[in-house]
Amino acid sequence: MENAAFLPVAFEVILLLGALAVLMVAVIADRNRKVWGPIAGIAFLLGAGAGVLQWREVLAGGGGLFYSAQGATIFESPMVVLDGFSAFAAIVLGLVGFTAMLGSWDLVTRIGKRSAEFVALSLLAVAGLHMMASSPNLVVIFIGLETASISFYILAGFVRDDTNAEESSLKYFLLGSLASALFLYGVALTFAATGSLTIYGANSIRDFFSNTVVTQPGILLVGMALMLIGLFFKISAAPFHQWAPDVYQGAPSAAVGLMAAGVKVAGFAALGRIFVGGLISQIDSWGPIIAVIAAISMIVGTTMALVQTDLKRMMAYSGVAHSGYLLTAIIAGADGLPAMWFYVGTYAFMIVGTFAVISAVSGPGSTAAPMEDFRGLARRSPEMGWLLAILMFGMSGMPFFAGFVGKILAFVAAGSVGYIWLVVLATLTTVIGLAFYLRVVANVFAGDEDAEDDIEPSLPTRFAVVIGATVTVAFGIVPWILIDVVRDALPL
């Protein structure tokens, strides 16, 4: 039982210890910078390992709710939940964090002394992200959201000498704080409507809905809407996406990978936890909202991505479109969650891999990645060129790449609950999306005349890209193992 009590929070604890260790080493041995990366890497891997242990515990019938101080309060409220959902989130976030750390290694070695902060903030951010997936308490979810967001605000502006980065950081901070505030307001109103802050356990939101017929749902609807808006902002679903292109472009390339991938994973985990886990009885109210937002995201993301001339901005808009596809999985309720996990789990690696390529080509601290930078990449570095092409095919949803499987699962889920119009729209925008992904590929293989220097990416960066591409190809050709796994990654 002692072990089980540690296990539910093992992921957060390991990452926080990692962050502490990095900061301690930075204080004690200032010159020994190379050691921070490995510490962070090991922390992420241990975190993922803890996730695997959690997973096995859940499959063995363990898991469940964990209370902060049992019996101490009148309303016993569970603070942590250990289930397939949170365990899978731990595995994904740990591995994504590890890969992203590899991808930002070039930046870490370049920014000198401050790199300790960078590494520690990355660790803190991922710990916060996992809290969003592993807590049944809306306030703790909010705290996780803020922990991650504040870390990312700093990371976005990490290259201080660049005005773009400052703008990016400030913009992210202002809009992000607004979204967090809206989310918190939504939590408060949900509390007002249901009398509970927790999803599971005694006197929980689920309890409330199973015992009560809501006749005047006004406050509840506003509460749900505000929570949705807050999370839509974080996952950059249109029309709450305006920050994303500027922030992606303004932030140092090597830092965007974790930011983009991690927030997507955790944002959707929180959506799944709160809405499918807690408010599933209200799906008739929030389902249509999500469907409409999904539709808008696909259309806006795809059309805006078409006209971008900067790869980072394009990735931001394509991320908006992907949020739309992912939302189609959520509207199917519990049937859609495996699809969501498969999709977001593989997509996160594609993002990290792509930003590792961008960082290798345009420079790790650069705030712009114009498309011309990638012209003739296949010639300057065949390895990077082909891997970037694979990642692009993966994101475009070509068969035999992981993106295709994720899309199929999501669309089948949406189709099975009758959202055929959304499926048609999704397949159409997927095709239009092909245009801008292929433009990148065309760029990569074009430009035979340019005699630009060869690109020699560092070993960690190459590892990050290879991991991203391997995930894309492996789970595209043999997705069965992962499909079987995500089937159990359900909330309690």
Binding site: D335, F393, M398, P399, F400, F404, I408, L409, F411, V412, A413, G415, S416, I420, V423, V424, A426, T427, L428, T430, V431, L434, A435, L438, R439, A442, F445, A446, W480, I483, R487
Partner: protein
Amino acid sequence: MPVLTILLALPLVGAIIVAFLPKRRPELVYPIAVAVSIMPLVVAGYLLWNFAAGDASFQFAENVSLNETIGFGWRMAVDGISLFMVVLTALLFPISIAASRSVTEKVKTYMVLMLILETGVLGVFLALDLLLFFAFFEIVLIPMYMLIAMWGSENRSYASMKFVLFTAAGSAFLLASIIALGVITGDRVGTLASFDFRDMLGIEFTGATQTWLFLGFAVAFAIKVPLFPFHTWLPDAHTEAPTAGSVILAGVLLKMGTYGLLRFNLTLFPKATVDFGFWIAVIGVIGIVYGAAVAIVQPDIKRLVAYSSVSHMGFIVLGIFALTSQGLQGSVFQMISHGLTTGALFLLIGMVYDRTHTRKIADYGGLAKSMPVYAGIFLFSAFAAAGLPGLSGFIGEFTILVGSYLSFPVLAIVGASGVILAAIYLLWAYERVFTGPTTNPKIEALRDLNFRELAIMVPLVALILAIGVYPKPVLERIEPSVEAILVRIEAVTEYQVPEFGRQDDAVVPQYGEIDPGVGQRSEG
């Protein structure tokens, strides 16, 4: 023995072998690529040899369920329709790979892409799981796009992008329809979804659903065929593609469209097929006349052949939607014939292009003097494409016209003009290129076909002649499968095949049956 899986895996294994050839020995790439591309042909020959003629059921079936919840499986089989598509694919690939000697840049990548492309195309014709079918249907785009974009001529980036976006736009409707179909089927069999083709055959879709699904499938395949007015990607892609790319595009990729119509639209949505059949046949006839008329005035020889494809594919669509045994048989036969003749023409154009680097008809003249053998083979292929009796094109087009006359006499008569127009554009082009005085001094110095080029052309020429003179072995394998489709349509709709349109005494098993005798393998 999972013959079909082996067939599918061979090009892929070949691609891996080629990819790992040592960098220091670039001269090995071409011969080894040719050698590995012949292996699938051997397996295809085995299929052809062991295929039970006069049997409409699916043979060599493989059925391994991979995921129960979404009802996806490794389901493959061949019947009389797909058998010949598979053989045609396995034949055209080694030929076009052998014809790619003039590719000098990034040869290894080129060969790897060709072999991956072969796997994709074979998969399309073998798959009996709609999701698997779609995966192959779509994956074909990537290697084809790369081949055009990296080894094409001047306007390649525009043409390759246009090709991908046009066909992918169709695929969007196809995917949406397949998902809807899968979800509906899943409802009936009690899973989240099911993509098993044979599960789907058991379901009669209601009116509106059937119409929408039919249209979703039809649009995707119409773009691929391509039917007028979706054909505009074709001349660009064919013209800009490298020779092998054009051969494969015209030879087998277009057939993916007509094959899809035949395999899925006719069998899954029989009511909608009967409702829309006439109008699609009309579009097919428009394609016949339009494609031929435009082909006449093309100044670019490759573009001319490309437009002739639009015309010939129109015949195939007319034959399919005539819904008679002759029409369907003729369509499948014409798919084979068009693959051989147009493939031959594109190969021939490629051979002379390698020498002169021009495709403009006006740059030639009197070519027959310097290249007599070449001229002879070209004339032969042109005659075959124009439907000269005794060659394969005649059998296909004649059978189609007979079959469609039974259903739509007026359309058949209008469509027949395509045969005459074909003679005009092909022979006029021959006249301008090969006869008359030599105006271009370069032409006089050209050397005739060498041994390698002759060796490439001989199989095509021989087959065009063989199935043109003696089509029975082909037709008797096609016939039961298409009759089974007609029986199915008659059983579920009020449609009656016109008199003489079907052999009444033929004993036909239910469509979708699997022959337990031939190469059966089933698990899970």
